[in-house]
């Protein structure tokens, strides 16, 4: 299949950036979106042009590296998928596809489709961990955890930190990301110990990074490749109120 790709090209952080249109020919409908970019990049290199920079690593939807806004949707059309899992067959032959980087003040563009997501890392550094003593591996069942709680914590822990929630949110809010991390740890006995300081520090860092405020549009949940529920945001709010007011 053939498609027309309108893609964001930006040399570096300081470049203003612009859209460039490419004709991409003879793409297998079973190719992933990233493989289509690979094919285009090979062509560009052959022509002596700069290939399109984009983040990628595992290419099986578990690492959280990739992330492109495709036709106005973070990770492209479809639910519960990362950009690497998006197949070209969802488009029609001859389609015009617009590919842009995540756009948020907190995610400055580094080059082309690559953005700086270290803001999310700094939120994790602020409190997204438990201060456990290192040493021997503890017995797996030393602390019993009810199955429903363990499942819910696991659902939150599925967050791969790709930043699609921020990209999809009309306010560039990182609430779903922070909520997933808070929820994951607050549900488990090991995480409860530092729950109060953790939520305050992580929210403070989130605000400092310049992410917007949640306005409960729930676009984040719709675009999350791990389909993390916005009910975790309610838990984040609950934890924050408990920590600050109660």
């Amino acid at each position: 299949m053939n498609v027309t790709l309108k893609v964001w090209r930006q040399k570096n952080r300081n470049d203003a950036g612009r859209f460039v249109t490419y004709e991409v020919k003879d793409i297998s409908p079973d190719a992933s979106f990233l493989e289509m970019l690979d094919v285009l990049n090979v062509d560009l290199v052959k022509k002596g042009e700069e290939p399109i920079a984009f983040d990628h690593d595992c290419r099986e939807g578990i690492c959280g590296s990739c992330g492109i806004v495709i036709n106005g949707r973070a990770h492209g059309p479809g639910r519960g998928i990362a950009t690497c899992e998006l197949r070209m067959r969802v488009f029609r032959d001859g389609d015009m596809i617009v590919a842009e980087p995540w756009r948020a003040k907190a995610f400055p563009v580094i080059k082309d489709l690559v953005v700086d997501r270290t803001g999310l890392d700094r939120i994790m550094v602020a409190g997204g961990y438990i201060s456990a003593k290192t040493g021997g591996v503890p017995d797996a069942n030393a602390i019993p955890i009810p199955k429903p709680i363990a499942e819910e914590a696991m659902d939150a822990a599925a967050c791969i930190g790709c930043g699609a929630c921020v990209a999809a949110c009309p306010n560039s809010s990182a609430m779903l990301f922070v909520a997933a991390k808070i929820s994951h740890l607050a549900l488990l006995p090991q995480g409860k110990v530092e729950a109060t300081t953790r939520v305050q520090r992580m929210v403070e860092q989130m605000d400092k990074e310049g992410f917007g405020n949640c306005s409960n549009n729930y676009a984040c949940e719709a675009e999350c490749p791990k389909e993390i529920s916005v009910l975790h945001i309610a838990r984040l709010n609950r934890e924050f109120i408990k920590a600050k007011v109660l």
Binding site: A104, C214, L236, N237, F240, K244
Partner: protein, 228 residues
């Protein structure tokens, strides 16, 4: 104290201001609707109700809270809106929020803005004369005369539709922000939300419909037939 200021200044703190003021305004809607429905009980009942509302000191005290909420809710809303616009200085070329978020959640500024305009007109039409003026011949007649104007009634109903959309998003969002939305209560919350975004605006809409179409019907029909 510093802790409280820090709480308010956080993104979640501002959202909580929105939800608490919003929910307080929702409780007011219930009281207001009950009061309005007294219109169906007749002129005398409604006139004594408005007299009670104007003279009761407790109502006067709650009124201060009500006006504070009416000012704070839109004010904080606009401040958040501005901050949120700043969080994405470079816009998307294509952005399909409509495929990810329900309509009501995308138009809260628009619905809220129109409700605010409506409130200014509404307070001028009903609240100001009832509270500060001397209504002639009665409160009931003031309402009946206002709603006999088709344009005013239509404006009132359009504002109620916007209110419905505003609450369709706002009511559940308030509970989400307060951290009270959970798997356990989501069903109950949706049911109560339905009362607020659908039944309450519908209840308010019965009044202009009644006064415009049914209250005057006898005299209008007589006029149409050339009988004065």
């Amino acid at each position: 104290m510093n802790q409280l200021i820090a709480f308010y200044n956080s993104s979640i703190g501002k959202k909580i201001t929105m939800s608490l003021t919003g929910l307080f305004l929702c409780t007011f809607l219930v009281e207001h609707l009950v009061g309005n429905l007294i219109l169906f009980a007749g002129e005398e009942a409604y006139n004594s109700y408005t007299e009670f509302m104007v003279s009761n000191p407790l109502i006067r005290a709650v009124e201060i809270l009500l006006f504070a909420s009416l000012l704070f809710h839109p004010l904080v809303g606009v401040l958040l809106w501005i901050a949120n616009k700043r969080a994405r200085p470079n816009k998307y070329e294509v952005y399909k929020l409509n495929e990810n978020a329900p309509l009501a959640s995308r138009i809260t500024m628009l619905t809220g803005g129109l409700i605010f305009v409506f409130l200014v007109v509404h307070l001028r039409t009903f609240f100001a004369p009832l509270r500060f003026g001397d209504v002639h011949p009665s409160a009931y007649r003031l309402v009946q005369e206002a709603f006999s104007d088709g344009l005013y009634s239509a404006f009132y109903i359009v504002a109620l539709i916007f209110l419905g959309y505003h609450l369709r998003h706002g009511f559940q969002a308030a509970f989400q922000t307060l951290g009270l939305r959970s798997k356990k209560y989501i069903g109950l919350l949706d049911a109560v939300a339905f009362i607020f975004w659908f039944l309450i605006p519908l209840g308010f809409a019965t009044l202009p419909v009644y006064f415009y179409f049914f209250f005057n019907s006898a005299s209008t029909a007589a006029k149409a037939m050339g009988v004065n």
